[in-house]
Amino acid sequence: MLRHLTLLSVLLAPLAAQDAAPAKPKKKPDGRNLFLMVCATCHGAEGKGDGPLKVVPRPRDLTSGKFSFGNTRKAILHTVENGIPPAMPPHKDLLNEAQRLAVVEYVMTLMPEQIEMDKKLSTLVVGERPVFVRGALDGHPRGLVLGLPGGLTLAWDCENLRLLGIREGAFVDRTDWRERGGTPLELLGTAWPACGDVAFPAGARVDLRATEVEGQVARLEYDVRFSEGATPVRVVETVRGVIAPEGKLVVRTLTTSAPLALLASEPKAPVAKGEVWRASTKRDATTWVLTTVLAPEWNTAVDARVRAEVAR
């Protein structure tokens, strides 16, 4: 320890002399040079805690971004001024204020720069056009989320194109934008009860082919096949959200490239689950319209609205 301070004093001697020199025009101190002269004997030339003076315990690796009192300028200035006993001496009397600040600025640059993704940045919003988002959903590593203008959100499992649910309100928090990535998307907003469906009979293989946004309309394209090697039936599903006085509607129109009895399990007449009503209509041999409505009751106004939307 004594050796440390002695050596440090020797190193600092020219600094003090420089300080005392009169009437030179004031120049901003060079933080790096000061660091190399004052700090590098212990912290190393690159600040990695590996200086030639082998102090025990090992000096802080300043490049790690981890500090005893935090990595703010104020905290580092406090450390520079007061030291950390017993290994690190105070520098309040050895460096003037401008020099201390210059060292602090230089130490700040040694820290790794980090992208800090907080929830504010990673929360996605839907503007005037629908937005598709791909990512893991809880229990569904290949998930697909669609945000519709007006605040409705639909989520699918891309492995089988099963609709996992419908929500309303805020859209999605991309938790995978934080740390290393890979965490499930957090669906925001409020879930409508019991909105998920299995559109296709068991045994059908469903492969997503494309998603597309055209104006206000969002479109999914997928192939359905019932056996290996069979010619797939291409399904184009358009999704619209309707916010009407009668209720909120999600209208999914499925157009198939060939007649396909794939919606046998869907209710033909409105079926209520809580305030959610689901209905399916076979418009023709290759077109189904699936409607999900959030409304307190199924009345003539709702019925008329659904009929109108199905007919569009």
């Binding site: 490049t63 640059t109 720069e113 590593p141 934008w177 998603t211």
Partner: protein, 834 residues
Amino acid sequence: MKALAASLLVTTLASQNPEAKAWKAEYLQPPPDTAIEVGGMAFLPDGTLAVSTRCGQVWFVDHVLDADPKAVRWRLFAEGLDEGLGLAVKDGALFVLQRGELSRLVDKDGDGHCDRIERVAAGWGLSGNYHEFAYGLPVDAAGNFYATLNLGFLDKAWWHGKSLGRWRGWALRITPQGVVQPIASGFRSPDGVALSPHGDLFVTDNQGDWMPCCGVFHVREGRFYSHPAGLRWPSDVDPSDTVPPKADRTPPAVWIPYGLSRSTGNLAWDTSGGKFGPFAGDCFAAELTNGLVVRLLLEKVRGEWQGAALAFRHDVGSAHRLLFAPDGTLLIGLTNRGWGGAGKAHGITRVRFTGDTPMEITKCALVADGFDLTFTHKVTSEPAALSATLQLYDYAWWWKYGSPEFLRDPLPCTLTRNGNTLAVRVPKGRLEAGYCARLVLSGVVGDGGRPLLHEQIDYTIHQLVDGPPATKLVAREVVPPKTREQEAEGWVQVHDAATLGGFAKHDGWKLADSPGIGGDTGKLVPKAARDAQPGALLCESGPAELVTRFPHGDAHVRLEFMLPRGGKAQVLLQGRYGIVLADTLLGSTDAESCGAIVCGTQRVAPRQQTYEHAGEWNSLDVWFEAPNLLPDGTRNRKARIARVEINHRVEINQSKLVVDPDRWRIHEDVDVEAEDERAEAPLVIRTEGPLALRRLEFRALKDTSTERAVRTFTGPELVHALPDLPVDETLRLACRLGAGGDAVLTVDGVGVRLNRSRAAQKEKSGSLVGLAAVTSNLIPLDDTWFELEVVRRSKLAQVRVNGILVAQSAVPEGSGKSAVTLERHDAATVVELR
């Protein structure tokens, strides 16, 4: 301000860095409030640069090659993708490799935004593990894409990479029709995929388990390279995490030493024909952690690629992706979020040749008994001033994270200069294949007094140029280090991370995943984190006390603790002899600081301070010898704290593989005394404020291990009489159970539970059935041997696990018969005894 500080760093360091004289680095500033964490780059036919990012966006960047870096303009083309760690432009179309699919991105209406995303291929497994990245995306002349799939990482402490879905750990070819063809396995975290100008496929991988350091692999169909996890496919038989597989292993062309690269990104070849300087044709590797570009000097020896690695350009930011522009500019895509890194965390750095050719090695050719080095300039050093050290080293190929370099004694070598070449020779027969050779030159000066830019070069020698073909691999197979289960033998975990059953008193404590310091509050709070260690114990506000259910005598006690800023607590061995836990200033060694011993008025300061930080996990290890008390209550030996270490058990890090054993020791042989001393008593942890704990474990200092033949109990017969077990008053044996196993060992009418069930509330191993329940898992892992001691006296039964008393109860008078039976709960339970 942070960005400004970082800009200053680049500018300042660049001016100090001699590499900067020859290769100028300029930062292309991303738009504000964006994260351009580059995963892939390619030029569109019109010269626009397309960039995919880890945030699943695709940006179009204009004016990338303008003289003024400030001229660069960014346009968001697509978003909402699930990462984008590879991007390719093929026949004018844009392709992005997402985590779960290869996609074609289309702008149908020509408004500059992607409106249609077509899935080209998705034929690989995705389990949901956070680490299942997909990397790419070179395209060959036939239009095939190439990609690699990361393993999943489940276990932070040991980093066993696992292939949790089909073809994870493989390199893939994806045909233009979207057919996925797995071509080679053995990869861990293969973050770089590239086709060389010769058409060879190369994959880079990152150091870790079964990957001693970062490697650059020349990939051939059907080969196995290094990490066994991917061998699970196609048969779906999971290989061992720890035992080397019986598979022919092909080594990488080059192992890049840890000092140069810790996280290698992708590769790029300088095809600029000299516009980038004197290294035309060379291969360059992005290095993220150290923030530099590495140069690879590859050559074919006996038909196989091998060669050397050396530094090229530092201070470029966290280099992840490299791309040469048509004008010879090297574009470096940056990212470091969660992966570590140096310098700039996102955006693009461009590096251009200034025309000032430095003195540097251009070629390193292996010859018989040495190397022929070629330089950019004539070597003008005086022969006497030239020297070099040449050292061979190899690595261990094992399940541990990375490998140290096993250095051999330096080889004597001679240097002979001739124009711009230098012949490095060692005595005949001393250069060996199956090693890396580290050559460090000294005194090399070129024309005009130019000093050599980089003096160290590491050459991976798979084959010598003459002699019989070598079979030794640089990463040599070794006897596997102890498995995690073997390491766990002898320990009793007091806290099993799932219950509070190991504690008799725990008011104010709760289970919390991944505690940490919360924002500006400075307090410890539970935090959600992807690699959360489950089940830490958290006291959010003190004072509070934690008392173990089990007493300890002579024992090695260990735990990990996290304090908030200014936090203070004590670990009281046997509830009496205290060790201070305190958020202590670096270097503080007074009697109040972390690690100080406190017993009544006795205070012993630690001889050094090795505590790390508030908000970080620190480890404490104490070797304690209980007082020796005679039956009359007198004491003939004081209690002794034989040894205390703080932070000896830190995350495995290559730089810490060889450590001074005293480095972490803060006390040795301190006699302590207290009132009302006992041979065995519970441990107490007392905290004044917030404190987090995990991995609290006891290990009896007395060796209780038994060595007998192993008997395995399995099959449909569930009840097994054990007439031959030597029982008088005490039964001693060792047991081992797999996950979910459940059985009862009955000794003269008293049942002892053996249980690894996940169900809460169930009597766990060590319970006296119906009499004294142990409700936490005492054995840290499944399939781990533990010592069981059952004492069955006339009116008392006791159970010790690994020497620790875990259950006792008054029992009815025994029959005196030494009947021992084992009853397995179900046929799936396998019990081993010895």
